[in-house]
């Protein structure tokens, strides 16, 4: 009798014939005559409906048509469908707000989105740097860094807890009121970007920290055992692996950041959302917001696809074993 065989409990399960094992004791191994009750074949037809097999494409096409058709029907057949169409999807108003007309008192949403892009790009670079610094400080163990570690923790708690729009108001209204030379005479876009950087760095530093923790301690040991100083080990061994692991959550935060540049409009800066708001107030048509929404989608979707490609390329490269 093979007592390394797992799975067969000393007590026979219900339905098993008790003809194995020595007489008088509970059988451990079922007898030679044991056969599984019935067939293993799946009964019922649940599997076919869930796709897979040749019918899959047809089924997915049909279901897509049904869902899209139902949504379109609800939208088009609603009692207020004509009013909504006119207020939000008027081609004329969309074009007007896209190109703008300063003499009529409104700005081009298409031009204003460039300010969002510039704010996003500048904020992103600063956030990546500041957040990394905060994460490294919080991860440090040196006793001399203790006070800075506490400050970094308070910073992260504070800016993760305060709504971004309050931070934008606080910086945009508070800093000019300080009447400091240079600092108090910047544009609202600069204050807006500063607020974005302060707030997002708190979030992104936590993402970095998760990434640093995801690299196994043995990698640190391996790097240090070769005589690499801590800084070199961090730069060449730990950080590259940490960053690879956090690309998806980082991207998520940056998509979010792209959209949140619209909040800077509360300071009066003419970015896409503010330009759309001004148009709607002048012309009494909300199609300008639809234009702004489309422009934001045009920005965020490529970023999402780009990161998917990065992740896929990295995965393939490591599996294929090809030098970059």
């Amino acid at each position: 009798m093979d007592d390394n065989q797992p799975g067969w409990a000393a007590e026979p399960a219900a339905g098993l014939p008790a003809d194995g094992g020595p007489p008088g004791s509970a059988p451990v191994v079922p007898g030679d005559s044991w056969r599984p009750p019935g067939s293993f074949a799946r009964t019922g037809r649940g599997s076919r409906l869930l796709g897979g097999g040749r019918g899959g494409t047809v089924i997915s096409t049909v279901s897509t048509l049904v869902v899209v058709g139902a949504l379109a029907a609800v939208f088009l057949l609603a009692p207020g469908a004509r009013a909504v169409e006119h207020a939000f999807f008027s081609p004329h108003a969309m074009w007007q707000s896209f190109v703008g007309n300063p003499r009529a008192g409104y700005y081009s949403v298409g031009a204003a989105i460039w300010l969002n892009i510039r704010m996003f790009l500048i904020a992103e670079v600063l956030i990546l740097a500041l957040a990394l610094l905060i994460a490294l400080v919080r991860q440090s163990t040196h006793p001399a860094l203790f006070p800075i570690r506490i400050l970094a923790t308070i910073y992260v708690d504070f800016f993760r807890g305060v709504p971004l729009i309050l931070v934008i108001f606080a910086i945009g209204l508070g800093v000019p009121a300080l009447s400091l030379p240079l600092i108090s005479s910047q544009s609202n876009a600069v204050y807006g970007v500063s607020a974005l950087v302060l707030s997002y760095s708190a979030y992104v530093s936590e993402v970095y920290r998760a990434g640093l923790n995801s690299v196994h301690q043995s990698q640190v040991a391996a790097a240090r055992s070769l005589g690499l100083p801590q800084r070199t080990a961090l730069r060449h061994v730990i950080l590259p692996q940490a960053v690879r692991n956090i690309i998806p959550p980082l991207l998520n935060d940056f998509i979010s950041l792209q959209k949140d540049t619209a909040l800077v409009g509360v300071l009066g800066t003419i970015e896409a959302n503010k330009a759309a708001e001004i148009y709607s107030e002048q012309v009494f048509n909300f199609s300008s917001f639809t234009v702004a929404a489309i422009l934001f989608l045009v920005l965020t979707i490529p970023l999402a696809r780009f990161t998917d490609r990065l992740i896929e390329r990295d995965r393939r490269r490591r599996l294929a074993g090809v030098t970059p």
Partner: protein
Amino acid sequence: MSEAIRIEDVYKSFGANEVLKGINLSVATHEVICLIGASGSGKSTLLRCANLLEPIDSGRITLWGEQITGPGIDQNLVRRHVGIVFQSFNLFPHMTVLRNVTLAPAKVLRLPRAEAEAEARALLSRFGLADKEAEFPDRLSGGQQQRVAIVRALAMKPQIMLLDEVTSALDPELVAEVLDVIRELAATGMTMLIATHEMGFARDIARRVCFLEEGRIIEDAPPAELFSDPKDERTRRFLGRIVDAGRM
């Protein structure tokens, strides 16, 4: 033969768990010493302490007569001379084999890239890995990964090698290729301190074998003596269990 490394009365605890309880060990230049003992007996911790990856609580460790434990020691300088290879390989997964091997020579010894790569290629081909330099570690077998890890440590031209159960994570059929590499190293006169569960290998290669139990060196003798005529009852019991498990 001069003394390469000396471990004197070393104690080490992790929290309440005392792992090393007064270890004394001396390794002469060109000497190969094997550490045997059950898991948790302190073999790995001892090697990690000798590479300064773990600070010791008390006692001292000297390299060629100079104390390396305590304040004011350049740990990175010590580690250049004392290489260590781990049970789980610990290759850098985001780098090719060649970059794994050249990273430390380039960044620590500041070798020019071409020179570091030439030396790395020479080492790789010596250990049968010439065609693997462009691969990433996860494309290699365990045996190949462990050989790369040994090459990576050797690229720093250490005088002493510490091997921490380097075959324990390998499939049985891959153990031999790694043991062959270690035999070749021993033949070149490399000073080595080897923690291992491969008793046959220890008997072949070691000049002395130390049996550890519960953080103490119970017996320290030439392999012929320790394996065929162990003096201590605890050594006899340990070896008995190894024989019962069919491992010797």
